[in-house]
Amino acid sequence: MTAERVVVAMSGGVDSAVAAARCVAAGYDVVGVSLRLAPHGTGSCCSLDDFHDAAAVADRLGIAHYVFDFRDLFDASVVQPFVAEYLAGRTPNPCARCNQTVKFDHLWRRARELGAQHLATGHYARIGRHPGSGTPMLRSAVDPTKDQTYFLFMLGSRELERTLFPVGDSTKREVRAEAARLDLPVADKPDSMEVCFVPRGDAAAFVEREAPPASRRPGPIVDGAGAVLGRHEGVHRFTVGQRRGLQLGGGPARYVRRIDAAAGTIVVATSSDLACKGLIAEDVRWNGFGAPSPEQRLAVRIRHRHAAIPCSVTAVDRGRARIAFEEPGPLVTPGQAAVVYDGDYVLGGGWIAGELT
């Protein structure tokens, strides 16, 4: 019997290298694929060095490796929406969008074309099983400092059935040690932390380069009562909760409370004024089990690396949900994901539309 084929998405980093190595060790017929997403040299990924690193790892593992050019798709489904979101006063989450459209949809289709039964990535996440039905569910990684389920919430049981996360049950330290033990040439390669296509992590500069000047309007910075405290150079430079860069002179520390892109206004508040009752999520997906009931005690994560906040969830119409914090919580940032957890397990999530009032 021939082995099942697995396509491993290889970024050139250590996590996907070890993911590929574990697929090989598990006896799969492994095909490594790197994706060309951003033009060379614009950000921290997709450099020729990354492809060479991935190819060197594949060579070391004795597997085939190919590069697919997904630049057009990536631009249309990740980069342009990223720019549009900033201009609309929201703070986009391009990694989650990329997972949703590029990796677990388009790349999966390519993998099927190549005769693969599974797609594997180096994400830190696990695939658990629903205790009752046994269907697969997204589950937090063993290493809480590396957990990436926040960016993967849209994977339902149908996607998870065919997905492998070979490093999700290891810590980063274990992954690096294994890479070193296997003599993989990327064992010591630094982690990438920033949005891959944005140079130096400077999203504002990137938006300014990509967007037509007409779309970048300066405007006033006001307090909750509407008093003008200062000026700004465009709403895309701000994110809700931001403190730095307001340049309002002295006085109490102020934070961005709200962004009104239509009016071009940044609304700020002092720290006593920041409590938030919850959020409205849109484009919500419940991963195969329907919406949770409002009685369930759940938790929601509203930013990567933030602790999950105890909450209750009430499904509304048209794929929307009201997510109420148990206690007043931190400000929510429109455009970010809201991911709902039941303990370790991800029940689903959506995109933050606004604050619960």
Binding site: V31, R36, H40, L48, F51, A55, A64, Y66, V67, F68, D69, D72, R109, R110, R112, E113, L114, G115
Partner: protein, 378 residues
């Protein structure tokens, strides 16, 4: 056993070449040195020069060894053009012509890139008009490596010379596949590549008609009669000479065989996949070894990977360092969409390709296309 159908990217080393290079490896000495060791190496180089010259009907002293056709093409353009000059070339040249042309343009030169029609053939009306503008240089490939189109360089040379221009042709893809005679072509400069005809990569040549004032690009030694400095790539040159001699001897028989097998491959594909489309010209205006096809609706990248996994080496357009090709500029120039220009599958045969290999390749390609279509339909 794998089937290698990417000769236009690089041919496997021929056994005769391997043997010749192996013998040469026991020699030592700088060919510019006065001692016997150096003289012995020098003789090998000159023998190779004669072998390469014979392949193109040239005199040996007019052959300058280079690192390959890319260097030859760069040398021809950079060595002849000065700011203010006009260069006439085509939209479908190899990057080693198009990139120096673009650099020349950026430095204040004028460039006309002749368009091609949907089958890759040249628009002669355009060519005639451009040649009346008194270009300094006309550069046109003898054959295109992606679609296999063969261009009437003799006709172009006649037009160009009437306007006082020098004429360069990139013959890297034509060598070993077409009869090449510099006198009959009427050109002044002709580039060759070793590894396309079964020599080691890293060696090629630029033939220069005596008196054509090409400025050396690499300076610092009297090698190659002051036209290309640097200690000669002795082993590469010996291999190139052996490969050139072999190509000249075999040409008549191998060209006919490659043509028959290429046509067989096309027939097998067309029978199995009725909607397969062919890119480029047919008949005599086509290299005997090249077939470029498109499977409608199929991503070229997937097809190529399935062929590779299935044991068939082919390519999409020309080879690319990143491993993921840009849309083919040749297919774009022929009017293809970006998607279609990414999907042209190039199958190129060589003198050692067998009928059995062609039949196996046809099966692998057919299976790959069906596999992709099954998934698309699911």
């Amino acid at each position: 056993m794998r089937v290698y159908l990417d000769y236009n990217a690089g041919a496997p080393l021929r056994a005769e070449v391997h043997a010749a290079v192996g013998r040469a490896m026991s020699l030592c000495g700088n060919p510019s040195s006065g001692h016997r060791e150096g003289a012995r190496v020098r003789r090998c180089i000159e023998e190779a020069r004669a072998q390469v010259a014979a392949l193109i009907g040239a005199r040996p002293p007019d052959v300058v060894f280079t690192s390959g056709a890319t260097e030859g093409n760069n040398l021809a353009l950079d060595g002849l053009l000065s700011p203010g000059d006009l260069l006439v070339t085509t939209a479908v040249e190899h990057a080693s012509v198009l990139a120096p042309a673009a650099a020349f343009e950026a430095m204040g030169g004028r460039v006309v890139r002749l368009p091609v029609s949907s089958d890759g053939s040249l628009d002669w009306r355009h060519a005639a008009v451009a040649c009346e503008e008194r270009p300094r240089l006309v550069s046109i490939a003898l054959a295109n490596g992606e679609i296999g189109a063969v261009y009437d360089v003799a006709k172009m040379a006649a037009l160009a010379r009437a306007g006082g221009a020098h004429v360069h042709t990139d013959a890297a893809q034509a060598a070993g596949r077409l009869v090449i005679d510099v006198a009959a072509l009427g050109v002044d400069l002709l580039s060759l590549s070793g590894h396309k005809i079964g020599a080691p990569s890293g060696c090629g040549a630029l033939w220069m008609r005596p008196g054509v004032p090409v400025r050396a690009a690499i300076r610092g030694g009297p090698q190659e009669r002051d036209r290309r400095a640097g200690t000669e790539n002795f082993l590469g040159i010996v291999g190139f000479g052996a490969a050139a001699e072999l190509a000249a001897q075999e040409l008549a028989s191998t060209a006919a065989r490659m043509r028959r097998l290429r046509d067989l491959l096309w027939m097998l594909l067309r029978d199995a996949l009725p909607d397969v489309e062919r890119n480029g010209p047919t008949g005599l205006a086509l290299l005997p070894n090249t077939l470029n096809v498109t499977m409608p609706g199929i991503a070229g990248e997937s097809l190529l990977v399935l062929l590779d996994l299935g044991g068939v080496a082919a390519s999409l357009g020309s080879a690319c360092a990143a491993g993921s090709p840009e849309p083919s500029h040749v297919l774009l120039a022929m009017g293809a969409s970006r998607d279609r220009a990414r999907a042209g599958l190039r199958l190129s045969l060589g003198p050692e390709t067998t009928e059995d290999e062609i039949r196996r390749a046809a099966v692998v390609i057919t299976e790959a296309v069906r596999q992709i279509r099954r998934e698309a339909a699911a």
